[in-house]
Subunit: 258 residues, 2 copies
DNA sequence: TGCGCACCTGTCGGAACTGACAGGCCCGGG
DNA sequence: CCCGGGCCTGTCAGTTCCGACAGGTGCGCA
């Protein structure tokens, strides 16, 4: 009998009631179906039944040698004042909470964040704005190179091990949902750009660093024809050279990075 | 009160018992934490408690103008004979079940697959090998361009609407788990290849199709120095030219396709 | 039968890339 | 203090790319 069965409640270590289990299933379904910023935004309030918070914030970005760079964000109900003060502060780019989140070091809550959290961080600013409780959880890069950070805060809220366990469970799903939302919300302009099979084939060899002559050999056509295909590829993708063509083709999913 | 609460069982439309709900949570946690083919393989048997099957198969590939190409697969317990016969048949590359799955057209089971499913497909072959029940579910490209297909079959098994609903719920999570497993199981050789900040900066402009002269302008250095950085990038990545450098950098996650 | 399209081939010249030479400045660690 | 590394600059020769010219074949469709 699996360990979870010993408890009268559900989820390994999550200690969920029946209503919460149903909400969680709902949220997980939404996570996998998240295809826009709006869908992601709509997903956040549902978490309120599980985590109990007033405001939520999701950041996407990168962590490079300990320095966190934010590239995108979705805000759900954070106070205007807080946002303004945060932007005006020295925090953006140096917030230790963000760096910790992007590193995927596990959830962290206001009550335990004080100890062991480097300065500067947004904790004091949150308390100044009356956001007395909160959780931050993040995730490192997964399918792609982008990290995520999720912050749930407000005047009330539970800060216990159960909530931490729930966040630990949810964060990877939220990360994937967020990445999906951001990836799909900016759809590649023009899909596959109407590239022909031959042109995709040529792109595949361009990606491998082959010269026109080599591509001609590989495809059994003349070097000139390989050049002809490359020119058409560049024209259709609207790019200036082969390097950009490869990047654009990968970005649009015409070929994969492999 | 959300609709799910009206039922004495859990999950919107999934109609799960307590034990099944716990298994499902467990599986979902594993999905988000899946980092290797082995982890994905270990995840499949757990589904047995929910779907009841003997053999499982996961395919990754692409769908191009209705033609499915399989690039990778993970097999859990399929009979040797079946695999041999399938490989020897005309099916690989033309199996309508695979094409349907890669198109993400929703789960499909043996009992209803006969009607409306194009030929050729693997159904007859499965029945020949005594695999009398089964489900196929697939998913289109999500974070990346790769599609997934999951096949659960055996001599026994439920083929009802509840199982279909469960598969519909699970498939996106399985797809992401599978993509994660494949993406991470072949780690980029050498990580960031020891590229310096400047070199990553140059790569970012290469990706945009800038010439050496333009990169020099943009970075406030001479054209020659830009060339110097490009040469070092190509040497470190072990590639032949800029186009391949861009592809390799994206594949390794040094820069993103953006 | 004509039309569009994918695919193929050729030449030419200027621009860009690639690799190898040789050197300079600045900074941190042994 | 020297050494290594990141970063910067230069020259030179050979290769490759890129755009624009002008064509040919085969296939499906109206």
């Amino acid at each position: 009998m699996p360990p979870g069965f010993e408890s009268s409640r559900y989820g390994h270590g999550l200690d969920l009631g029946r209503a919460e289990a149903t909400v969680l299933f709902d949220v997980l379904q939404d996570c996998a179906a998240c295809r826009s910023r709006h869908a992601f935004l709509a997903l956040l309030p549902k978490l309120g039944a599980l985590l109990s918070f007033d405001h939520a914030l999701a950041l996407a970005g990168r962590l490079d040698r300990g320095v966190a760079t934010t590239t995108d964000c979705v805000v759900a109900g954070f106070p205007e004042g807080w946002l303004r003060d945060y932007a005006a502060s020295e925090l953006p780019g140096r917030d230790a909470l963000v760096a910790r989140g992007f590193a995927g070091r596990g959830p962290c809550q206001w009550s335990d964040a004080g100890a062991g959290l480097e300065e500067p961080n947004a904790l004091a600013l949150c308390r100044d704005h009356g956001l007395r409780c909160g959780h931050v959880a993040g995730h490192g890069p997964l399918l792609g190179s982008s990290c995520s950070l999720f912050c749930f805060t407000g005047t009330r809220g539970r800060e216990d091990r159960r909530t931490a366990a729930l966040l630990r469970f949810l964060t990877p799903h939220l990360h994937l949902a967020f990445q999906l939302a951001l990836a799909v919300s900016e759809p590649p302009p023009g899909g596959d750009a109407g590239l022909t099979r031959r042109e995709r084939e040529v792109l595949g060899w361009l990606k491998e660093g082959k010269s026109s002559w080599a591509i001609g050999m590989l495809l059994g056509i003349s070097e000139r024809t390989a050049n002809f295909h490359v020119a058409n590829i560049m024209r259709k993708l609207g790019v200036a050279n082969r390097a950009q063509a490869v990047a654009a083709a990968i970005a649009r999913g015409v070929i994969d990075a492999g």
